[in-house]
Amino acid sequence: MLTEKIKLTLCLLAVLLISTMAFGQNRLTGRVINEKGEGLPSVTITAKGTNVNTLTDSSGNFGFNLPGGVRSIVISSVGFTDQEITIEGRMELSVVLREAAQSLNDVVVIGYGTVRRKDVTGAVANIASKEFSSGVINNPMQQIQGKVAGLVITQPGGDPNQNVVIRLRGQTSLTGGQTPLIVLDGIPLDDPNQLSSIPPADIASYDVLKDVSATAIYGARGANGVIIVNTRKGSAGRTQVEYNGYVGVDKVAGNFGLLNAAEWKKASQDAGVDAATIAALDHGANTDWLKAITRNAVSHSHNVGISGGSGGFNYRASANYLNQEGLVINSGKEQLGLRFIGQQKALDNKLDINVSLAYTQNNRKYVDYNMFDYVNTTPPTYPVYNPNGSYYAYSGYDQQNPVARQMLQTNNGKDYLTQLFARIDYELVKSLKVGVLGSISHFNLQTKFFQPTLPGVGNLNNANQTNGNVDSKKGDIHINYTTEFGKHSIGLTGVYEYNQFVNNSFSAAGQGFLVEDLGGDFLGGGNPAYNVINSYKDQYTLISFLGRATYNYDQRYYLTVSVRRDGSSKFGVNNRWGNFPSASAAWRLKNESFLSDVDWLNELKLNIGYGVVGNQDAIGPYNTLLTLAGGTRYYDPSNSTYPYPQSYSPNQNANPDLRWEQRTGRNIGVEFSMFKNRFGGSINAFNDKTDRLLFTYAVPVPPFFVPTILANVGTLTNKGLEIQLNGNIISTKDFSWSANGQITFVKTKVTGLSGSYRGTPIASDMVPVGYALGRGYQDNPITYLKVGYTPYVFNLAKYAGVGDTIASSSNSNQLYYTKDEKTTPNISDAQKNYYDPTPDFTYGLNNTFSYKEWTLNFFLRGVYGQKLFDNYNNVTSNVSRLPGNNITKEGLTNHIRGSQTPSDFWLRNASYLRLDNLTLAYTFKKLKGLQNLRVYVTGTNLFVLTPYKGMDPEIKTGNSNQSYIDLNVYGSAFYPRSRSAILGVNVSFK
């Protein structure tokens, strides 16, 4: 009985005690959001000094009872900087959690698999959407331009239809493509330029595989580096709808500095042109021809994404529309895209099915690049229009009305990209998964061109259409095994892969159409004698076996070994198959006992890697075969019905020994993070050597039947250092400042261009590659491939100023230094020096300031030590062009007269620092019905600091023979760069 009572009393006491305790506790509720205002699920809220904690729900809401005496809570989540908040009596909190500068648990895609960032053993950079630049984006790569050490992205001018140039760790080849392999959700793109068809808003992150040990898993296609693009995926839960859109205006940044009509007249008079001639060319106008061909261009972009799912199913679907007017009249791009990605898990999550469907269509209006020549040749005294509104008609050498040409011509393209992908994985037994993958990519480009009889030109009207397809099929069978025992962790991956690539195209052209209104839509309507039809097709197969093993001991010592065996039908019969091994190791010092007490250090990892990769881009599908191709037609008048039969001629010296270029790379790096992950970074140094470099060598004809042969002979080296740093410098409740930056040093050197082909020595040196171009230039090489120098090294005469008179031997008053420091007007007698035009380093610096709901971001990027040959001013800044051609203001002060010559005077410092992007954003919080609303304004290319005298120091380099030559003539024109302002919105609701 007593015991009963005692029990009851105790129970009552307990209830009392508990209720008293409950009364003494605080119920704390709140929501955790990220910087975009999106609720964060599964965030841990811990009452400081206790073990009491809770997790946020799927919308980021939480609520729990705080033990008495707790004054602050700690909020932590994987990938975010821990935050400690003093409660100060509040019952409800809204917490913005900032993503950690670098999260060790981020998933990094490394090709045929993923690892967590902390387990990466090679040089791999990951960049997520929060770090993307906004603005009028032509190509998704612009989102990360300047942000990844070692990755140099160049946007040549503002043409919405031109592709960016992407280079990872320097120049890798002399004849082949150098663009990194772009892998979209696990599938390599057939052509890296197809990336421009991926809506930027659909992209979640990029993983950049930089060092050879990381890219070796892509074997014969990995030598240029690999960029893995990951699109946004769905997640199960309530349906979420997002909208991202902007509207923007582009205007021309910079100008050529051409003379206006009054300046042209005065300059012509000063140059001694007689009054009658000036009068004859003065048609009474004052035309700014650059303005005449350009406009303020309006762009708008809309992207709607819907995601959701339930049970084992999730999906994301998005639609995208972009309408971008070109800066140049009658040019632009319209893009429409649809994308669906879905995942179904079944059979106790053992079966995992992924499907993705994507379709993008671009309608393009191209620019006729000849127009830019006419802007610079036409005197400003010519009007654009006659008084009656018709185009003012004129024609001369490289001179006609550019406005008429661009407006009257039809110059369109439509491309359609369809990508289908499915993958099925099944967990056979625990830790062992097998799967298959299949994908199809179909790219179709149709172009249409019509040139009417242009006013004053008197050409025959002409039209053509082309239709080209790039198709690929890919399939793989893969197997993954992971296991852990004790402190050992092992992962194994094996893949068999089959790729088939088919290119085909056809074109038709006609001339002399009776009805111009039909444009190019009645190609058969012209003079049948001028009809031309053509078609082309090629095909090749790539088969690969690859395996990778990863091992770590106690998350301290890591080793990754991979090998890939690639066979390609492109390769010569003697070298069909190649092996591409790699090994890399990492040591996480932080996990060693001697560093475990160092609280301020969160991560310290050393890694080292070695690998072998290939580049097969320079090899055509049939380069190894003795083939006959259609040659010129020949005349056989005895055949009255068919007097111009097709001839067939050997089109190449077949090289059955051809194989991939081989890049052998070594990388050493360190990665660190400190002060609660607020500061971090990585430093990588690499030393790569490419041998069996493909180059087109001169061979004697005969016995060879064409004068060149593609052979694996040369060598080059790439050496560099990359530093990437990031940090949350200030992080308080209301205000934060984070910054990240990178600096890249890369030097490429040609180390050999000789060897032998089947016993015949073949060698090249001092191979001319880039030429000074323009009226009067013919065969003036200025850049070379020279052993011991960087590719595209300049070899230029040393300029010594101008003389008093025009020397008759050179037609010019320019002088040059001879070897013995005397001056000469003859450039052939001048001392010539080598100049390395490549940058000493490239860099980018990003700063983000947040104050409450406001975020200000600015991104600076630059290049230091780059030199460009200013071919534009070389040709245009010369008073001797007057009066028939216009000149620049620079031409009025440089005192150069007579013929232009390519001397080092025109090799100009083209270092620059550009304010690439400035974004001010406001995030609305707690709007009813909305999960997130962010409104922003962005200005791009707001200023550029540069000593360079040309229009813009950022030109297409590294991808053509004319690298480092800034040209605006003969169709190689520089499309003006834009300065843009956009107003954008990101909104999402559930």
Partner: protein, 538 residues
């Protein structure tokens, strides 16, 4: 059994998994070609493709400019082109001069293709029924390519088999190349078709072969030091006496847009606006604004021209007719009409260019202006400089309208271009006879036939035996064959090659300029090649 099946399945799988399918499209593997007579004809045709670069390519530049009938002055920046055109005129070229390098490639690409084709067609099974004709025709054509190469570069690599080991290849002395060409021609010339008809148009015939042989012998003294005048005359006779050719009654019909039916042309390179490109003769010489009278679409390139010294060889006396405001001239010697001189007027020029040339007008609005300078477009022959930035200098030199342009066509004219024609053979015959001391009235007759054709049948301009001198023949060749790719060779043979010339060409210090240097890029391709005497050794 189970093991067997597994093994079999595995091996099938492995085989299909690693089969690197290669389907060849758009080009044909060599072994799949050469199956029908038509395919063989189409496979042999590339032997001729390189010819499209001969009459109006870099060969043309080398064969004319170092002589005296063609000059490309640098007009400001235009045509300065690193000084290469000046080098050709002044005899200052080097192993890297663009035309010196390119002409070699053009000629040897023909030889390279012929060697390949010969090796293929002679190994076909069954052999083509016309194999001996194919062999003979290709060997005579190859001998002609070698004759051009030897004429320009002297000591050249001689490769007659596709299987030759490239690593052992070096120069052959000029006289040995001569011997090879002579033997090759003599061995094969009688096996080549003597048919002169549509079915051999543009092809090497027996008579084309005799023309090459005549050129070889006529210049034998230059090539070997030993004259072969009688052999040259005999080779000419083989053409003349065949009776297959006669002079075309109108000189310009040999060069017109439709010149297929010329009875005078012996060996031509067919061109066509759409199908066979490379005839840019009129673009090279016409001014940008000549579109207004000659209809060269988009204007010409304002380059090649002739100066006063050469033009003075022509009889420019004319008959003038006034129609309204305009005065038209018709040249007495039709050949003077191949060059246009003086003010140009905006009225469609008529064919043939020797008649009814609008030479002056009282209607000032008809005057064509140079659009760039605003100056009257008026060509003048007398200039003292090879290079000048002067606005007026843009109009220096007379322009040729020999291959009269088709209106509205810019580059890629359809006029077939002439390699050999009967008038040249007549003049060679006469010259060989004069030089050999065997000239008769027959030779005089050949020359007078040409002169009568030029003077519209007027015999008052006929020569006498006394006029039949080497000096006169040199001038007559200049008038008749201007810009037809013989002038450098003729100048060497007539001893004028090394002389000083206006504008700005000094006398050659020695004779090494009579052959061009081995191109530097050929030395890169084959380091065993030795440079010709007088030039910087490799």
């Amino acid at each position: 059994m189970y093991k067997m099946i597994c093994l079999l399945a595995a091996s099938v799988l492995m085989h299909s998994c690693t089969k690197l399918d290669q389907n060849v499209y758009s080009v044909v593997p060599n072994q799949n070609f050469w199956n029908t007579p038509e395919q063989i004809a189409a496979g042999v045709a590339p032997a001729y493709a390189s010819l499209t670069n001969i009459p109006d390519g870099d060969y043309h530049d080398l064969a004319e400019i170092p002589g005296d009938d063609m000059i490309v002055p640098a007009r400001g920046a235009d045509w300065l082109a690193a000084g290469q055109w000046i080098e050709l005129w002044q005899h200052k070229w080097t192993a890297t001069t663009a035309q010196v390098q390119a002409a070699w490639s053009d000629i040897y690409s023909g030889i390279g293709k012929i060697n390949f084709i010969l090796s293929i067609v002679n190994n076909l099974n069954p052999a083509p029924s016309n194999l001996s004709n194919i062999n003979a025709e290709l060997k005579v054509l190859r001998a002609t390519y070698y004759y051009w190469a030897m004429d320009l570069y002297g000591n050249i690599p001689l490769v007659t088999s596709f299987e030759t080991d490239a690593s052992k290849l070096t120069n052959t002395a000029r006289k040995d190349v001569f011997t090879f060409i002579e033997k090759e021609l003599k061995d094969n010339i009688q096996l080549v078709s003597a048919d002169v008809s549509k079915s051999t148009y543009g092809r090497m015939t027996r008579y084309g072969g005799f023309c090459t042989l005549a050129k070889l012998y006529l210049n034998a003294q230059t090539y070997t030091g030993a004259a072969r005048w009688q052999d040259a005359a005999d080779a000419c006779d083989s053409v003349i006496l065949s009776g297959k050719y006669s002079l075309q009654s109108n000189y310009f019909d040999n060069f017109a847009v439709s010149n297929d039916n010329s009875v005078e042309n012996i060996f031509v390179v067919p061109f066509d606006r759409n199908y066979i490109s490379g005839n840019n003769f009129q673009m090279e010489t016409m001014h940008y604004n000549n579109d207004q009278n000659y209809g060269v679409a988009g204007g010409g390139w304002n380059g090649y021209c002739t100066n006063a010294e050469f033009y003075s060889n022509f009889d420019t006396s004319s008959v003038y007719v006034v129609k309204g405001n305009n005065t038209y001239r018709t040249y007495n010697d039709a050949r003077a009409g191949q060059f246009i001189i003086g003010q140009q007027y905006a009225e469609a020029a008529t064919y043939p260019p020797n008649t009814n040339v609008l030479s002056s007008s009282t209607d000032a609005s008809l005057k064509i202006k140079d659009a760039q300078t605003g100056m009257d477009l008026s060509f003048y022959p007398d200039f003292d400089l090879i290079s000048s930035p002067d606005a007026k200098f843009r109009l220096a030199g007379l322009r040729s309208v020999k291959y009269f342009p088709e209106r509205g066509v810019a580059y890629n004219q359809s006029n077939d271009m002439v390699i050999y024609r009967l008038a040249d053979v007549y003049l060679m015959r006469a010259e060989a006879a004069v030089r050999g001391g065997t000239a008769t009235s027959k030779d005089l007759g050949y020359v007078n036939t040409i002169r009568e054709r030029a003077y519209s049948g007027d015999k008052t301009h006929d020569w006498t035996m006394g006029d039949l001198t080497l000096g006169n023949l040199y001038k007559e060749r200049g008038r008749e064959l201007a810009w037809e790719n013989f002038r450098r060779q003729d100048a060497i043979r007539f001893g004028t090659f090394g002389q000083a010339r206006k504008p700005q060409k000094d006398a050659d210090a020695d004779d090494h300029w009579q052959i061009f240097p081995i191109p530097a890029n050929q030395h890169t391709a084959n380091p065993k090649l030795v440079q010709n005497p007088g030039y910087s050794p490799f």
